[in-house]
Homo-oligomer: 514 residues x 2
């Protein structure tokens, strides 16, 4: 078999059944081998940032890696922003990048670039396959690196001639390591700490799944300890019947008073909270200077098991999870559409087990207050702050979970970064409903420009954060890529359109003008 | 003044009058300072790859740098692919990247990334501004690096707190260094070499401008020496009355026989020719093994002056530039549209001094044979092989030369990488006519998959290089971003639509279904 087939078979032997790809000449043998290894499904994306974002969404939902296939240095470069998000999410990704053939590398051909240098800042592991007989081992080691808890990006660079040369065979199936269980002493120490009313628990990493939240909810109900969660935890179980910890707010002014009396913070698969950006005259570190941090579970350890053990140890095993605060009533204004109305309507209509890709940016707070009352669902937020992941992550999640409805709640500014994802949704007939929050501005920047103290901004400044000239027509953008789309100006419009979309299967877009 | 204003004023003091930007929170003070420094025009792009490609197009037409403004590591990451192209073009670019405030950097905030590591592979110079009083000097040095012949990418990383702190003032105006003149001995040696009928000249770098081509044409007419040119020279003067060297073909099978009897190759601002990709059983180096390479002008030296001196030295000063080969007649088939018809129609209609951004990929050869007969124009090809530069380069060229018509000849697959450029064309009302070659496939890959020997490609392989499911509707995509668009299925359609577009001003798109 060729090196390309050896690589594909090694992916298949390790249960990697999908490859989000945008291949070029140097990857043609990998493409040709797809017919010989039907276990791996090739999904074409028209821009590499869609490939990497899709691999992130897939990996977050499956807890196992997808592969990418990217063309040389520039192809990898286009994927980097969403690999940054995947790195911050600790998503396992097997990131495969084609390289010029080894004999061609010495010439400074137009597409020559330092692929390793591009890969290193986002990759925990980078390997250049040495020769065709090395491909099977190199692929297996790359997969092994990707699945190390809590999950990593592992990059394999494959010169073209290795793909077309004869290889030794298929690489081994790698045993997937389990995250380390919690140490009993830590559980006991945390149990003591919780007795102090100035102790709080912060959940992050994978410890916002249904089981982890249930355990945290019981602990809170039984002991009164406050439970916080990272805004950027890669996947959070939400909706009715689930425990809803308090999410650390985006703006430090809101976060600081919440944490002002925390003397001990027990962290689970995360780090002490810091603000998203630094601002003049506002601290970045959000805990009081003298508060102590106790690590119940490191990233990559089993925080869920630790929370369950803590629940048992503090006698909370039979506690009842508290209801979320009643919050705003789930009713909507049938008149001019608002983010609040969208939240209420989505919360009312969302089917059980839906997946929400959340890149709402400035509308997030208004909508998410309603979603705690929706049917149980998973929410995938932006993990690394690099906008343009919402649509690709939705795409990848839909590939990972074809039986679950995916709803992408997407800001218009962010959506423009990787709108090409819509085409792959249409091509693969994925069950993704995209809601574009069309406020026609970079609203978050209108807020941030004041917050950073740039209060003297004039017309030229306002112009470069205003995306209303011309207004983006998302109905046409979606239709141009084969996704049926409608526009909603009122709550009544949106309610009818979203209700229809929830009843149907397949890709659909609603431009929600707010 | 703030650090941000100091930076902007230093740009203005050096004649940098435009900044292609996609700012975020860390760049808000730079944005706010735009009103105080009206000499610098902020042009908003909805994706960073549009910013970097536009800076490339601007720099190629002006021979002087534009600035970019990018948001943190991921913003830079999105710009890298077109910075790769700009690096290969040796375009001067002042690439400004915001960073977290220095006090925020120590925390692993979501958007933290290794910005320097992202920047180095594409930048000849990288500097992190140290404090606010350093900004003026840092900006001046960055500009100085960018304008070193033949032009470089220089990256300045600016922590947010430096932008909002008080700065010392404006940095100095940097004298722009002239490229080194040719050495007389080299001219004499080249004159001797030309007497050998097995000598040829290869033009690259900036030596495909009107003056350089005229000199090369005289030399060829007078001595019979063959003149070749790089496919990827960043800007080539073309059209009626100009000398048209033989472009080195993309495929090595076509290039090798052309160069088979070259004993001496005189290179001007370029390197000996190599194939674009390496293939099984085909050499990458396109010259005969035993041929000798003579460097008349290094990159960054004045190849144009060298060619003019060579023309004089070999007595060609009064020679007449030969006409291009008659080639195909500039007539078109009014029936089903072909690339050939587009070539004939564009050649007939193109106004004098137009600028063509050429990212036609597989249609390039068919069209360019006609363009030698068009009115005199400049052609900007893809320099680094990273597709997705055609529309941004057109945008940048239109900003650089508002009085010249810009025509982007763009393949549909390539156009999808950075289609967001259309929005900025509409916003700035730029005089760019985009022609999308809608063959609805990655046609070049259909060719390449056979050429790389992957002859056993089956249906799964064919599927992932087929972009016809669903068909992209470029009329809707363009309209969705505010650009008026039409579709042409026949030569007659295209002729009428392109004729209209040439008469009007402002952005327009024609989807040419071939």
């Amino acid at each position: 078999m060729t090196g390309a087939e050896s690589l594909l078979r090694t992916l298949a032997a390790n249960g990697i059944d999908i490859c989000f790809m945008n291949p070029g000449t140097s990857e043609m043998h990998f493409v040709a081998a797809l017919d010989r290894v039907p276990e791996v499904r090739g999904v074409l994306c028209l821009f590499e940032g869609v490939c990497s974002g899709a691999a992130d969404g897939y990996g977050r939902m499956r807890g196992a890696p997808a592969a990418t296939l990217l063309h040389l240095g520039p192809g990898l470069a286009n994927a980097l922003a969403n690999l940054h998000n995947a790195r911050k999410a600790h998503t396992p990704v097997v990131n495969i990048v084609g390289e010029h053939s080894t004999t061609h590398l010495r010439y400074d051909a137009p597409l020559s670039a330092d692929i390793e240098a591009f890969a290193r800042p986002v990759s925990a592991y980078v390997r250049v396959a040495a020769d065709a007989s090395d491909i099977a081992a190199a692929a297996a080691e790359t997969i092994c690196a990707a699945v190390q808890p809590p999950g990593q990006i592992a990059t394999l660079i494959v010169p073209a001639d290795l793909s077309w040369s004869l290889a030794a065979g298929c690489g081994p199936a790698i045993p997937k390591p389990a995250p380390a269980p919690p140490a009993l002493e830590k559980i006991r120490e945390a149990t003591q700490l919780i007795r102090d009313p100035h102790t709080a628990i912060l959940l992050g990493g994978s410890a916002t799944n249904e089981r982890a939240l249930a355990a945290a909810g019981r602990i809170s109900a039984h002991t009164g300890v406050r439970i916080f969660a990272d805004r950027n935890a890669p996947r959070t179980a939400s909706g009715r019947g689930r425990f809803h910890p308090v999410t650390i707010p985006y703006f430090p002014e809101a976060a600081l008073p919440l944490l002002a009396d925390v003397r001990h913070l027990i962290v689970v698969e995360t780090q002490p909270p810091v603000s998203f950006f630094g601002y003049p005259n506002t601290p970045s570190y959000l805990l009081p200077e003298d508060s102590l941090v106790f690590v119940l579970a490191e990233r990559g350890e089993d925080g869920t098991a630790a929370l369950e053990a803590l629940s048992d140890e503090c006698g909370a095993a039979r506690a009842t999870i508290p209801e979320p605060p009643a919050g705003a009533a789930p009713t909507f204004d049938p008149g001019p559409l608002t983010a609040q109305s969208i939240g209420a309507i989505v919360a009312a209509q969302l089917p059980e087990s839906a997946i929400i890709s959340d890149e709402m940016v400035s509308a997030s707070l208004a909508v998410n207050q309603y979603l705690v009352h929706a049917a149980p669902h998973d929410r995938l937020p932006v993990t690394g702050g690099s906008i343009g992941q919402g649509l690709p992550v939705a795409l990848g999640a839909a590939c990972a979970c074809p039986d679950r409805k995916v709803v992408a709640l997407e800001a218009d500014g962010s959506g423009m970064y990787t709108l090409q994802a819509l085409w792959t949704m249409a091509r693969e007939n994925l069950d993704v409903v995209t809601v574009i929050f069309a406020n026609r501005r970079y609203h978050i920047l209108e807020i941030e420009i004041r917050r950073t103290g740039a209060t003297d901004a004039g017309q030229a400044a306002k112009d470069v954060i205003d995306i209303s000239r011309p207004a983006l027509d998302w109905v046409q953008l979606a239709a141009g890529m084969g996704v049926a789309a409608t526009r909603a100006h009122t709550g009544a419009d949106f309610e009818a359109q979203f209700r229809d979309a929830m009843k149907e299967r397949g890709p659909r877009l609603i431009e929600a003008v707010i």
